[in-house]
């Protein structure tokens, strides 16, 4: 049908944002910033998100968005391969594609990518953990969410590869929490029971971090077992402050959201945009948290 190489109408004032998941603080922060920027520039922004971080539903949403013909779609692809075909279709229909947070493997579809290097984030987590642990030898555990979740898989991979460079730290098999805090808590408790020499835990996202922090504090091990979390949601920041978490790997969702909209508008107008930007990741610890407060995620717009 409408697969012809559609031209983007430079006067199109409609934008769409499809984040990776409903109600994740990271994405909420992107959304807030994006809304603000769009409003400032006089653009309409339709924000949508799948219920879970899964490609099938996201691709369905994308279909609906394409049908309604915005000038550009800003998206965090939940799968770097599966979303290629529907995004190609969007492009063919004259919709500019802007990638935020994650990116497709195929670089020819989007006009620009503001993507986080989750693998590097995992490496950063490992370095931070090693630093926190110091020279104490022992076991470390990584908690992934669900196998096949691209973001957390890469974080876990980066973490595993980096930890391998620290011979004192023995990496336990990475466990999967199904993204349930209760499961995460249980895994951490059991690991503690079985490995009294556990010295560090890396939780690849919010829910796993929540469960891990609870299990550790319940066992009276907060601060003894170092916990590195991912994302600086308000809750995680609180936990960092009160010592339940020792470090957070934070992204900059506010900037991603704002910049994503700017680039989308530029692309619609046919202005040149930078093809590739790796967004920064930063390790926040209790010591430096006051300097890094600009990285804390928003809880409401």
């Amino acid at each position: 049908g409408d697969t012809g190489g559609g031209q983007t109408d430079p006067g199109n004032k409609n934008l769409a944002l499809i984040t990776g998941m409903r109600g994740e603080p990271f994405y909420v922060s992107i959304e807030c910033a994006a809304q603000q920027e769009a409003a400032a520039q006089g653009y309409q922004l339709n924000v949508q998100a799948p219920e879970k971080f899964e490609q099938a539903e996201q691709s369905q949403i994308l279909g609906g968005i394409v049908s309604s013909r915005p000038g550009a779609v800003i998206i965090s692809p939940t799968d770097d391969k599966a979303l290629a075909a529907p995004l190609q279709q969007a492009k063919n229909n004259g919709i500019q594609v802007v990638e935020v947070d994650t990116a497709l493997e195929d670089r020819s579809i989007a006009v620009t990518s503001l993507s986080s290097d989750n693998y590097a984030g995992g490496q950063l987590a490992a370095q931070t953990l090693a630093q926190l642990v110091g020279d104490k030898p022992g076991k470390v555990l990584a908690l992934n969410t669900k196998a096949g979740t691209s973001t957390t898989d890469e974080r876990a991979k980066g973490f595993e590869d980096e930890i391998a460079k620290h011979p004192d730290l023995e990496l336990l098999p990475t466990q999967y929490t199904e993204n349930e805090p209760a499961t995460a808590a249980q895994i951490v408790s059991s690991t503690l029971a079985a490995n009294p020499d556990l010295v560090g835990v890396f939780a690849t996202n919010l829910n796993t971090g929540e469960g891990a922090a609870t299990a550790l504090s319940n066992a009276g091990k907060s601060g003894q077992v170092q916990l590195v979390g991912f994302d600086a949601s308000p809750k995680q920041v609180d936990d960092l402050r009160n010592g339940r978490v020792q470090a957070l790997i934070a992204q900059n969702p506010g900037k991603i959201g704002q910049e994503g909209v700017k680039r989308a508008i530029a692309a619609i107008k046919g202005e040149p945009v930078e093809r590739e930007t790796k967004t920064e990741m930063i390790a926040i610890t209790r010591e430096n948290m006051d300097q890094q407060s600009q990285y804390f995620y928003k809880s409401s717009c």
Binding site: G1, D2, R22, G23, N46, V47, Q48, A49, E51, K52, F53, E54, Q55, A56, E57, S59, Q60, I61, G63, G64, I65, V66, S67, S68, R69, T78, D79, K81, A82, A84, A85, N93, E105, K146, A147, G148, T149, D153
Partner: protein, 347 residues
């Protein structure tokens, strides 16, 4: 029949006229649900006349619903026997994984350029991969008599675990591009996506199987009263194994379709497929207690949520409101049907 007697035939016949299509439709359990579907399409067409009633949207809706439709068709058979199958999403993933790995293996690591021979083998492997889990489910349900919920919850975890073991949790990502461009994104007759044609053909076959053959009749009989079916000489165990196998087979097909469409195995993306398929079937008027139901109802049941999702996105409904609205529509659709149903004595 050994003994027959023709005398009173005419009298009895006048008592039992064949019902007309109108009456049968009006008496059907899915009339209102079907009307709700039509109503939703009209509503969204009015709200977004530029976006909803377009060829692109129609294609997109149909294509994306195709794998779930296969799961729901299989689930219809299972639920009519008063069983349930929670494993379909994982079996879909498993089948996709073994199929993709086989095609990769046969192409020396990268299946992108593979030809039709390899693709055919991939299809067979996907179907067989699904059928194996179906047989396992069926045997545990029918022979070992473990409740279907427990069996298929077990295989839900196990099939996904097996897929993860095979791939080490990382999606297989090379899929023959010949497969992707024909089955995945190709169209026939100018506008009809091939994936939709395949799904429609399978659905029609399933309608035929359920509503006109002995296989279908036994499916209803077992769900209605398994003991009566057994005493009537129906091989209940064998039939149940066949029904679960059919469902596994269709999940395998869905896995292959998903592979063709997305071009990758989507290991993490199918944890809700089981509930979605079951909801579609029940929405379509099939009773969880077995004995009644239609494939057509399940088709309607697949498309109501799909249309809602698409419509809400187009109408710009805020994401957090969507599940609330979807819930309300689902309940309302069934409630409309329910109001007309008379309380039957039995059960």
């Amino acid at each position: 029949m050994p003994t027959q007697q023709g005398s009173q035939k005419s009298e009895v016949d006048t008592l039992t006229p064949e019902k007309g299509l109108g009456a049968r439709l009006a008496g059907s359990n899915t009339l209102w649900t079907g009307l709700v579907l039509v109503g939703l399409c009209v509503l969204f067409s009015v709200l977004r006349p530029d976006a909803f009633p377009t060829l692109f949207n129609a294609q997109n809706l149909l294509v994306q619903a195709a794998p779930l439709l296969m799961l729901a068709v299989g689930m219809t058979f299972v639920i009519i026997t008063s069983g349930i199958d929670l494993s379909v999403g994982s079996v879909l993933v498993f089948s996709g994984v073994v199929s993709a790995m086989t095609m990769e293996g046969l192409s020396g690591g990268d299946a992108t350029g593979a030809g039709w021979g390899v693709i055919a083998i991939g299809l067979v492997v996907a179907l067989a991969g699904g059928a194996v889990w179906g047989v396992l489910n069926g045997v545990l349900v029918a022979v070992a008599r473990v409740p279907a919920l427990i069996v298929t919850l077990g295989s839900f975890g196990a099939a996904l675990g097996a897929a993860q073991l095979l791939t080490n949790g990382i999606d297989v990502r090379t899929v023959p591009s010949a497969l992707r461009t024909t089955l995945g994104t190709g169209t026939s007759f100018g506008v009809v996506p091939n994936l939709v044609i395949l799904a429609a053909v399978v659905t029609l076959l399933a309608i035929w199987l359920l509503h006109t053959t002995a296989f279908g009749r036994y499916t209803y009989a077992i769900g209605s009263n398994a003991e009566a079916a057994r005493r009537s000489g129906i091989k209940v165990t064998r039939h149940l194994v066949a029904v679960y196998t059919l469902t596994g087979l269709l999940a395998g097909l869905a896995g292959f379709m998903s592979l063709a469409y997305f071009g990758t195995t989507t290991i993490s993306g199918h944890s809700n497929d089981n509930l979605n398929a079951i909801a579609a079937v029940v929405l379509g008027g099939t009773s969880l207690f077995g004995g009644v139901g239609t494939v057509l109802g399940s088709v309607i049941g697949v498309f109501i949520p799909a249309v809602l999702d698409a419509g809400f996105v187009m109408a710009g409904v805020r994401p957090f409101w969507q599940p609330i609205a979807v819930g309300a529509v689902l309940v309302a659709a069934v409630w409309l049907d329910q109001r007309r149903r008379k309380a039957r004595n039995s059960r």
